[in-house]
Symmetry: C2
Subunit: 144 residues, 2 copies
């Protein structure tokens, strides 16, 4: 996957040809009362869960059109092309929905780091359980 | 990890000794206006993302006390010890929170299947992107 920063090209029209996408464009997805659905981002190579953020129909359409992750920021109330500021884009390999249609899962190549703190994932070293020192088997091949 | 069904034993008291836990018992976690926080369950051995469900403070306390996942069902409005009905328990290795404190990540041993459909994960074979036939590297050692 390309590692350089990208500027998303033309977004293209929604399924109804009317510009911004609506929930009707994604009949398999259940958006909530705010027109949002949570999306889990997972690293394609290592399997690490990177972060969870929210999408609305238009950010979902932009994601599929550009193959980079577009979220909708609830706090800033705006579209958010992950990496547009930091250069830490997420390039999409797969985008899936769950059995209830109310959660999405994106498998991505993460450039740089997912977390605004500089940690690779947003879950690094933040524990509610007692750390055991065990290493998850699927991470065995990752560098220490 | 034990594979047999378990009946959670005594839950124990909350941090304040008053029975049910409250958000104040988990100062690193931001519960939403419904007193819920989303929790991603990921398989410890394979790294597969299994599902996303919601926890309130008391289900979080029960999870830490019993080392099996307790969610709070929004649709049934009740506590839900995953596996209590199906036998498909999730045994907890790690429980983490993210940089904003508004998402949890549980690494678990999944007994049987996570999805009520019988699929191993809730995301099996449900695609918004076009399937490429590629296999994520972290899954390379998993049986086809």
């Amino acid at each position: 996957m390309p590692e350089q920063n990208v500027t998303p090209g033309p977004i293209g029209a929604s399924a109804d040809g009317e510009g911004f996408a609506t929930a009707a464009d994604f009949p398999n997805v259940k958006f909530d009362s705010r027109n949002l659905v949570p999306c889990i981002a997972q690293e394609w190579t290592t399997g690490e869960v990177l972060m969870l953020a929210y999408m609305n129909p238009e950010s979902l359409r932009r994601t599929l059109a550009t193959k980079t992750m577009w979220y909708y920021s609830r706090s800033r109330d705006e579209y958010w092309n992950k990496g547009a500021t930091s250069g830490h884009f997420q390039y999409v390999h797969e985008l899936r929905y769950d059995c209830d249609g109310d959660t999405l899962l994106a498998l991505v190549d993460q450039t740089g780091a997912a977390c605004h703190t500089g940690d690779f994932t947003c879950f690094d070293n933040r524990w509610l359980s007692s750390p055991t020192g065990e290493r998850a088997p699927f991470l065995a091949s990752r560098e220490q």
